[in-house]
């Protein structure tokens, strides 16, 4: 295992929210999250909306200071417990860059492409001559396949398509020559037809420049296409992680199983037994409130395998070899093989009918 460039250890982020009466409550957006980003590897974080994916990315980008836990860059703690200095050093910005979800919002409509790239180059590489700057801007645009660069460099964002804008955004992030790229759902706002190009571009950057990539998504298919490792988040916590194929083909946590089965699969014969698959889909439940999360395992109210223990005690982390782990009591109880049985929908339907009886 190579040494990680960027590492988060047991980070948590709580937000205080006050209602109109002045009572404040705490939203536990992320808790106990640990992640390692290694050079040349792509790690995906998947989970449904509100599971804390974006908060995690923003903690790593240091838009938010973690409430607890440590962030390490090259093994040196840069944020978290015991670090007093809150200002983000320029050096950190040079190493870690974030790509935003919305390419329509992340470029200033009043500035040309040139401004965005030149500022990024100037900020981190002082004293370049005008010619060298121009050359660098051109090569950056070529890096993200916006060729010929002269066609794009003087355009305003509104003159570009969504895919071209996202390329400019990526070029801007690359301009500082970072070692870590954090992608916060970088393709979710793009047309389906250009998503693949974007994924291939990210893959090229990883292979040729050895970038460490964090790829946040709710789309399992794209994670499977692009990534090496997958981390699954549910209600602010990480529930399972491991190599992508293993996680997707044999989920070791009921939530991962639910997530994998919920994504459309063209090979599944939907027409034949639609009701059987989606019959209880409406009753699968909602993710819990992060202000007052469920006790024990946070997934237990929705889990068909839930036991007495699950409602009271958070499950321990079960190490499953090959860098895989899952936070689930099933592994402690020796019931892990039940996960490979029938589909979640069947299990949930069965559970619901039993309860009704």
């Amino acid at each position: 295992m190579t040494a990680p460039v960027l590492e988060a250890i047991d980070v948590a982020k709580h937000f205080a929210v006050a209602n109109s009466l002045g009572d404040s409550s705490v939203v536990r957006a992320v808790e106990g999250a640990s992640i390692r980003l290694e050079p040349g590897r792509i790690t995906a974080v998947v989970g449904e909306s509100g599971s804390g994916k974006t908060t995690l990315a923003r903690i790593l980008a240091r838009f938010y200071e973690p409430t607890s836990g440590v962030i390490r860059l090259d093994g040196v703690p840069v944020a978290g417990d015991g670090i007093r200095k809150r200002a983000v050093q320029k050096a950190y910005r040079k190493d870690v860059q974030l790509i935003f979800q919305d390419p329509f919002g992340s470029l200033n409509p009043l500035h040309r492409v040139r401004h965005n790239l030149e500022r990024a180059v100037r900020l981190h590489h002082h004293g370049r001559s005008k010619a060298a700057l121009e050359e660098r801007v051109t090569s950056l645009l070529e890096r993200v396949s916006l060729t010929p660069a002269s066609d794009y460099v003087d355009k305003f964002p509104h003159e570009l398509s969504g895919g071209q804008r996202q390329r400019v955004v990526i070029a801007r992030a690359l301009a500082v020559e970072p070692r870590v790229l954090l992608g916060d759902e970088p393709i979710s706002m793009l047309d389906v037809s250009i998503r693949l190009e974007m994924l291939n571009l990210l893959d090229t950057l990883r292979r040729e420049d050895g970038l460490a990539l964090l790829y946040i998504t709710h789309d399992i298919a794209s994670a499977r296409y692009l990534c090496d490792d997958i981390v699954v988040m549910y209600a602010g916590q990480m529930v399972e992680a491991g190599p992508k194929d293993a996680v997707i083909s044999s989920p070791q946590h009921p939530y991962t199983k639910l997530l994998v089965e919920s994504s459309p699969d063209p090979h599944r014969d939907v027409a034949a037994d639609r009701d059987e698959i989606f019959g209880a889909a409406d009753e699968l439940g909602e993710p819990p409130s992060l202000i007052d999360p469920p006790s024990g395992c946070r997934f237990h109210p929705r889990c068909p395998f839930a036991m007495e223990k699950c409602t009271t005690t958070p499950p321990p982390r079960a190490q499953l070899g090959d860098g895989r782990w899952a936070d689930c009591w099933l592994h402690e109880e020796g019931r892990a093989d039940e996960l490979s049985g029938s589909t979640m929908t069947e299990l949930i339907t069965r559970k619901l009918t039993e309860e009704r009886r």
Binding site: F63, F100, G105, N108, L110, H111, R119, R172, V176
Partner: protein, 302 residues
Amino acid sequence: MKYDLFGNGKVTFGVVVLGFFVLLAILGPWFTSTVLGLDARANDISAISSPPSAAHPLGTTQFGQDVLAQVVEGARGSMFVGFLGAIVGTVISILVGVPAGYFGGTTGNALNFLTNLFLVMPVLPLIFVLAGYLQGTGLVMIAFIIGVFGWAGGARTLRAQAMSVSNRDFVQAMRMLGESNRRLIFTEVMPHLYGWIASMFLGGLIGAVMAEAGLAFLGVSDSSAISWGTMIQAAQQQSAVLRGLWWWFVPPGLCIALVGTAAALINFGVDELANPKLRSGSRRVAKRTAAIRRTALAPEGV
């Protein structure tokens, strides 16, 4: 994206009128004294309160002073107060409003508190107290007083706008690159506020010209300085309205109204620039559309 500010009749009219008064303020006094040979302060004893005549195109005052020369001289005073007051007010509202919106938190709250304080202050009584305290208030002082007491509303607007722009992704993205706060404010946030600032400046200009006239009318002014406000005040003191000396107070009053209208008309154009929904199709576009329709409908071979 490009929008022709001058393709709009309202704006053209406003710019022409305002430009005329600016030129009048700059060159007028020289023109009246050398070309027309009129002196705003000289007393012509042979023509007291005389209606417009060949010697005095706009008549004379109770004191035998030429009204035309006074209006021209007054343009300099009023426009000076108008521009200086607007500049002072706009600069303060930018300095307070934009950081208040951009930084938020403690800084924002402190600046916002200051703004609210100035917003609820009883301005008029305060100006009287201040003017009495300062004594001998020249036009510069009047302009500063108007500016210092008139920025709060604009600061509130800028704060709200700066707050909304600062939270947009592109500002966060540039911060992610490592841009300093100063650069973020000036190159990323401020350009989005130029429309607001321009319209605030024009509003401030009208406000300052009016406020100067109002204050002069109420007696807060420099008695030796000539502005439209002091002219109207002098006319009022000498009961010009009762005595029918209309040529004394109508020209300065009309000038104030014209400057106000001109600034407001330019403001319409600036608003349309900032908010395209307000734009009405220009006559030229309508004409062209009609022409195209005619050609399309015309039977072939005609």
